[in-house]
């Protein structure tokens, strides 16, 4: 337990001291929501709830890509890792520390977004809906964590940031998080249901609209989790082999 605590602190403290890391993932979802979602969220409660759910999903994918993609890529190149790997701890402590850090920053991002939208828009959700949405976002984060990890284990740190950005915004757009799906151009709306962002978006929207989860989006997310999980494990094994051979 002492080792896990030490790894969690060693992961969290430097990130908290680096605003360049946490400002984009904690503040940007709320900031962008205030620019693009606020005006449509003033009158209609349903629209406000859906937009808030969209930007919550946006926060989740940012943390998946940046916390896992960039942090892992940077750690792989760090000489400090060579020292850390001689300590009597397995890789699990480092992985758990990454998960806890991701949950911590997600909690900050969602608190800010939900607090702001609850105060400044027509959002109206019950406590149970908030809890359900949180659960959906945490479980739905899995494929994004795996995509981030696969990215982190396969590209150098300098390449991870632009690639994460290249994935982040286009996927958010394709998934109907920046613009509602019905407002997307027809070619984009054809592709949209096949993206994990749209699939997680559908689950978030189902929670705030009190409708059943669309089975196709659940299946899609499971599929993405399996595929991206396999890729992440293969990339991790490959990296471990390269490092230790």
């Amino acid at each position: 337990m002492k080792i896990y605590r030490a790894h969690i602190l060693a992961t969290l403290i430097p990130l908290l001291r680096t605003p360049a890391y946490w400002v984009p993932i904690v503040i940007f979802p709320t900031l962008l929501y205030s620019f693009f979602g606020m005006s449509a969220s003033q009158e209609n409660e349903e629209v406000a709830n859906v937009l808030m759910a969209s930007w919550s999903v946006f926060a989740v994918i940012g943390i998946g890509f940046f916390q896992f993609g960039i942090s892992i890529a940077q750690a792989r190149e760090s000489k400090w890792e060579d020292y850390a790997r001689t300590l009597p701890a397995g890789g699990m402590a480092r992985f758990v520390a990454q998960i806890v850090a991701a949950i911590f920053f997600l909690a900050l991002a969602l608190t800010l977004l939900w607090g702001f939208s609850g105060f400044a828009s027509a959002v109206n959700l019950s406590l149970m809906q908030y809890l359900k949405l949180l659960g959906v976002l945490l479980i739905g984060a899995v494929p994004f964590v795996f995509i981030g990890a696969a990215l982190g284990y396969s590209v150098p740190a300098r390449g991870a940031l632009p690639i994460a950005n290249l994935l982040y915004l286009p996927l958010a757009y394709l998934g109907g998080l920046l613009l509602p799906p019905q407002m997307l151009p027809s070619i984009v709306s054809t592709i949209s249901p096949f993206t994990p962002t749209r699939q997680l978006g559908e689950l978030g929207w189902a929670v705030v609209l009190n409708t059943p989860f669309p089975i196709w989006s659940v299946m899609g997310l499971v599929g993405f989790s399996v595929i991206s999980g396999i890729i992440a494990v293969v990339m991790w094994k490959r990296d471990d082999t390269l490092k230790t051979r």
């Binding site: 030490a6 020292y83 300590l87």
Partner: protein, 289 residues
């Protein structure tokens, strides 16, 4: 009791043979200096023994187990050759992080004092000077109160006073029964601490044995004298260093060399005939070092 062992270990990086059929061990309470030129296989040995690399051929063990298993590493401390510190972390935090991995860590105040880190505990590790960073890196090897430490060129870049203090701590650690694996290019450091020496060159063991055995293996005597002549040739000897008017010769037959010096009619004073140092022996055994 064997702390760590390589048995017929071979490692290669592409076409480069880093280690070829190398075998040696470190016993409890023993200091082993692994010496050799750059690329000799010293760091690869350390990486195998501490679980950083998977062995390709042969066997490696640490406390009788595979060093890749965290359990086997419970009683060791490591200073890698190059341990850059993580971004935005303080000295005290790094030490606390490392200590949390051990059941009975070393006394913090004593450790900080020994490595001149007491006043730096609240500073960011990356803001320390190169020498201070190296001291911190060595301190981290000892912070878990380990039974064995693996030090890869521990004193590189450290000023003389800190280096002296550091060696005093390392000697005390050895006297208390700690085992030491040391690689260094400072042969006087190795001579001061090592019980045994393993000389590596191009991944192969050139010679291994106790410090005494290594020195005797070359059968060299050091002949030193002062003279106004800076260049001369003496029988059975080759000229070593010149320090001002002080000349050093390495002789295979000290009697013959002294006789030839006397017969040469060169004016000399303060003649000394000394046993070879480790540095002299290594210079003989590894001419490319």
């Amino acid at each position: 009791m064997k702390i760590a062992e390589l048995r017929n270990a071979s490692m290669s990086y592409g076409a480069l043979n880093a280690l070829c059929d190398v075998s040696y061990c470190i016993e409890a309470g023993e200091a082993v200096a692994v010496l050799g030129p750059n690329g000799a296989g010293k760091t690869t040995s350390l990486q195998l023994l501490t679980g950083l690399k998977k062995i390709q051929k042969g066997e490696v063990s640490l406390f009788g187990a595979n060093p890749r298993s965290p359990k086997a590493r419970r009683f060791i401390g490591v200073t890698p050759q190059d341990a850059a510190f993580p971004h935005a972390q303080k000295v005290g935090e790094l030490i606390a992080f490392a200590q949390s991995h051990y059941s009975s860590p070393a006394n913090l105040a004593e450790l900080l004092d020994a490595f001149n880190l007491s006043d730096l505990i609240g500073k960011m590790a990356l803001e320390l000077s190169g020498g201070q960073q190296r001291s911190l890196s060595v301190a981290l090897a000892f912070c878990g109160n380990p039974k064995a430490v693996f030090l890869d060129e521990p004193t590189t870049g450290i000023d003389a006073a800190s280096r002296h203090k550091l060696w005093r701590y390392i000697k005390k650690y050895k006297q208390a029964g700690g085992a030491i694996f040391l690689t260094t290019h400072y042969l006087e450091d190795a001579e001061m601490i090592a019980d045994r020496v393993v000389l590596l060159n191009q991944g192969k063991i050139v010679r291994s044995g106790t410090l005494q055995e290594i020195k005797q293996a070359v059968n060299v005597r050091v002949i030193r004298f002062s003279s106004d002549v800076t260049n001369c040739s003496l029988s059975s000897a080759r000229q070593g260093s010149i320090d001002g008017s002080r000349l050093t010769f390495l002789s295979m037959d000290a009697d013959d060399t002294v006789r030839s010096l006397v017969n040469s009619k060169i004016a000399f004073r303060d003649l000394e005939v000394l046993p070879a140092s480790l540095e002299d022996a290594v210079a003989e055994l590894l001419p490319n070092y």
